[in-house]
């Protein structure tokens, strides 16, 4: 019995895979690599594979975590070497280690760090006029940042997302694009899609009409251990 934790990237065209497609991809990858998979009991046995936090279609990442249960230990270095033969580089396994699981992987996720790129169609204001860095700081200094969200019954509800924003700043402001770096809540104790915050801010700047699209990239997944935020892989 052993659990293997893998950190992998998801980039280029493969960022368009849905979470379900990733699940299937991982199972088949592990089967091709002939890992000693542990299967669930019952009529329809499947391997025990858990993902940390599903990514939306189109979001790239360099810090995805998956864990797979095995019936015996394996040589991790050989595994990492071998995977290159059968996994496209856009889904490369960055590192892996055997771990003692600390409960459900998904439940350990506390936050994620993202880059959000805003692409502008045509600009109403030049970067120096936008003064995004300062304006964004001021925006974050508000006690409440309210979004409208439909609940399960379809009723609109107001939610304050400010407590879910742990760290955020503008890191680039050019004529055709801006980039924000944000650490926001992820998981069952609060979950914020990073582009939501940026969208609200664009509205505040009255730039929302000029936005062409958003590109989102996940830099890290975090957990909290003894009050400290550490990368999920390290737990």
């Amino acid at each position: 019995m052993s659990t293997l934790r893998i950190q992998y990237v998801k980039k280029d065209r493969l960022k368009f895979l849905s979470h379900l497609e990733m699940v299937r991809f991982m199972e088949r990858t592990f089967r091709r690599m002939e890992l000693p998979l542990k299967f669930s009991q019952g009529f329809n046995p499947h391997p025990k594979i858990s993902f940390a936090a599903p990514l939306s279609v189109g979001v790239s990442s360099e810090a995805e975590i998956v864990e797979v249960e095995l019936t015996e230990s394996i040589d991790v270095d050989a595994f990492l070497e071998k995977h290159k033969e059968t996994v496209p580089s856009a889904l490369e396994f960055v590192r892996a280690k055997e771990v003692v699981p600390k409960g459900k992987l998904m439940a350990c996720v506390e936050s994620s760090e993202y880059l959000v790129e805003v692409r502008f169609e045509e600009l109403a204001k030049a970067p120096e006029q936008r003064n995004e860095k300062e304006a964004f700081k001021a925006f974050l200094n508000k006690e409440e940042i309210i979004i409208q969200k439909k609940n399960k019954k379809g009723k609109m509800r107001e939610i304050n997302i400010r407590p879910w924003v742990y760290d955020a700043m503008n890191v680039l402001s050019e004529s055709d694009r801006s980039i924000y770096r944000l650490t926001v809540a992820t998981g069952s104790n609060g979950n914020l899609k990073p582009e939501l915050l940026v969208e609200l801010f664009m509205k505040e700047l009255e730039l929302d009409a000029a936005v062409d699209s958003y590109r989102i990239h996940r830099l890290e997944l975090y957990t909290r251990v003894e009050g400290k935020r550490i990368p999920l892989y390290d737990m």
């Binding site: 065209r13 493969l14 368009f16 895979l17 849905s18 379900l20 497609e21 299937r24 991809f25 199972e27 088949r28 990858t29 592990f30 089967r31 091709r32 002939e34 998979l37 299967f39 009529f43 329809n44 046995p45 499947h46 391997p47 279609v57 189109g58 059968t86 496209p88 856009a90 699209s213």
Partner: protein, 610 residues
């Protein structure tokens, strides 16, 4: 293609288009590389389930000097973006415009996909008609089961390939490659292609018609062009190429599993079935070859399910040995074995029991007709006792959901045959409720599914009139009314699509312009209920003064020249006539494994074989 990346953010299921799947072919595009596009006229998830594509993809990419890439119909959302942004139809592998290819080969699986072929040519910037194409345009070829009546697409397809494609596709490629290198014209190359057995070049043939609209003559316009085109078959299936690895799609496809072919052809001789005639003779692969192929596929793909592909898997002569072997080998890795089609007999149940040890698969059976008389007419060698004893065993094994397939609109069909479909459903349900409660599985569902019969070329029913729309709809009501048990559900096919299938399946060359006109009215994805517009087709017919009922609803006489008569499938027309006559008398013809029934396939095509 940077633009495509941005577009993919705006469409549904972008993983249809990204490519780069495990085991997909990556080749460097160099000057001398022959570029072939395998085109499936439907979306990715449908096309990727097609075994023939995986085989030919392997055969072609095995050649260093050939690069076979895949082309699918983009879904309507992507198509709209492509048209807006001027992105031409592209290959999955390298996103190359189809105009850059040497050959685009369409597979013809279904008549109602023809509007998609036209749409794909248009999206690729390829002129729709053979006569409009220039020297630089790719050769547009087509094969697959619907190519056995190539005439409806004759004005659009440069060359058809009839029969099994492993050898002939390479011959076609070599011919085009060599003559192109010599600087030969498109016309000269097409003429040379016509000399390859199995290749039909429609522009080299002329059709004349009688006053009543039937064909007067069909002949080559040039000396030396063969008057009869004979299909191609692979003689030895054990030695023919079979891919050791197949593409593993990222997205969920219709058949998302490893498929291993176990034999070709079918000996049952069901009279409605085109596949049963055009794929003759039966040729099996040996158990060892199948097991090795399965092993290689599983280890190269990581698929968790293995499917045995053939027209009638239970008829494989060593099915028991094969299944036991496969299960023994793959049980440890929890790989399920599934069977796509099952014949009703007690033997199939013992095989099902084997499979159940690993994974429970859904159960479907095809009695095809509701009474014994009707089943005798269509030569479906299944009795009511077979059905009942099979159901009995299935239920006692704990199954409680079965699906039964039927056809309505069969020749000589009477009210009681239709009522018989409902009655069978009632009886199956009664059998279940007669079992002691503690023996029953879950909640019972018996699904009766009825399709509208479409007479097909090269079957004993190729001369008959198809039922009209109103008749089909009345018959559907008769079946429904005969169902009395609440556990019995009834599904039926829309008769409109079956009617148009009937028109195109037995259509002639004059249908081609109507297909183009239908597409001009916006038709595509006609196989998808939400896009199917019946009126587009009917308006196109009436504008071009084509009578669709002439093709679908007219009984032909034996001496009429049929549009596909120039094709030799090995099975003789005399045999088909004999079978048609026997059908009318309700006489059965036994499975030809138990003695030759004289279809003719072993005379010239497969000498001394079977």
């Amino acid at each position: 293609m940077k633009k495509l990346d941005d577009i993919l953010y705006r469409v549904e299921k972008p993983s249809r288009y990204i490519g780069g799947e495990i085991n997909s072919a990556q080749k460097e595009i160099t000057e001398g590389l022959f570029r072939f596009g395998f085109a499936f006229p439907d979306v990715y998830e449908v096309g990727m389930s097609h075994l023939g594509m995986h085989i030919l993809y392997g055969v072609l990419n095995d050649r260093e000097d050939v690069y076979c890439e895949r082309i699918f119909a983009p879904w309507t959302d992507l198509e709209a973006e492509m048209r807006k942004e001027n992105v031409p139809l592209f290959t999955v592998e390298t996103k190359s415009p189809v105009k850059d290819l040497d050959v685009v080969g369409f597979t013809l699986q279904y008549e109602l996909s023809y509007t998609n072929i036209i749409n794909m040519l248009d999206l690729g910037g390829v002129p729709l008609r053979t006569s409009e194409r220039a020297e630089a345009d790719p050769f547009i070829i087509a094969g697959g089961p619907c190519a056995y009546n190539p005439e409806p697409l004759a004005i659009m397809i440069d060359a058809f390939v009839l029969g099994e494609g492993e050898e002939v596709t390479l011959e076609v490629i070599d011919c085009i490659k060599n003559l192109k290198a010599q600087g030969q014209s498109r016309k000269a190359i097409l003429r040379a292609l016509a000399d390859i057995q199995g290749v039909y070049v429609p522009s080299l043939y002329e059709v004349t018609y009688k006053e009543d609209g039937t064909i007067k003559s069909f002949q080559p316009i040039e000396e030396g062009v063969p008057a009869v085109v004979r299909k191609r078959i692979i003689k030895d299936l054990d030695s023919v190429f079979y891919p050791e690895s197949v593409i593993v799609p990222y997205m969920d496809t219709v058949h998302d599993r490893a498929m291993v072919e176990i034999f070709r052809g079918c000996t049952a001789g069901c009279r409605f079935c085109q596949a049963g005639m055009i794929y003759r003779p039966v040729r099996e692969k040996s158990v060892d070859v199948i097991q090795e192929a399965a092993q290689k596929l599983i280890s190269s793909t990581g698929f968790e399910e293995l499917s045995l592909a053939s027209l009638s898997t239970m008829d494989y002569s060593k099915i028991d040995e094969l299944i036991r072997g496969l299960i023994a080998e793959h049980e440890e890795n929890k790989i399920g074995v599934s069977l796509p089609s099952l014949r009703l007999n007690s033997f199939s149940v013992s095989v099902i029991e084997q499979i159940q040890k690993v994974r429970k698969t859904g159960l479907t059976f095809a009695p095809e007709a509701g009474t014994q008389r009707m089943r005798d007419v269509i030569n479906k060698g299944v009795t009511e006792d077979d059905l009942m004893s099979t159901m009995d065993r299935i239920f006692s094994l704990g199954w409680s959901k079965v699906k039964l397939y039927f056809m309505i609109g069969l020749p000589t069909e009477k009210q009681e045959d239709l009522e018989g479909i409902g009655a069978l459903g009632n009886q199956v349900a009664k059998m279940y409720y007669d079992m002691p409660r503690e023996m029953r599985g879950g909640r019972l569902t018996v699904t009766l599914s009825a399709s509208c019969f479409v007479p097909k070329p090269f079957t004993p029913f190729q001369w008959m009139a198809q039922d009209k729309l109103e008749t089909f709809e009345e018959k559907q009501k008769v079946v429904r009314a005969a169902i009395t048990d609440r556990s019995v559900k009834f599904n039926y096919h829309d008769a409109h699509t079956s009617f148009l299938e009937g028109v195109v399946a037995r259509g002639d060359r004059r249908i081609g312009e109507a297909l183009i006109r239908t597409w001009e009215k916006g038709s595509k994805f006609d196989g998808w209920q939400e896009y199917f517009v019946f009126e587009n087709w009917m308006n196109a017919f009436s504008e071009l003064e084509i009578d669709p009922y002439f093709y679908a609803s007219r009984e032909r006489s034996y001496d009429e020249v049929l549009p596909w008569d120039f094709i030799d499938i090995g099975v003789t027309k005399a045999f088909l006539m004999r079978e048609n006559d026997k059908a009318k008398r309700g006489e059965v013809t036994p499975d030809c494994r138990n003695g030759c029934t004289g279809c003719g396939v072993n005379i010239d095509l497969f000498k001394g074989g079977c």
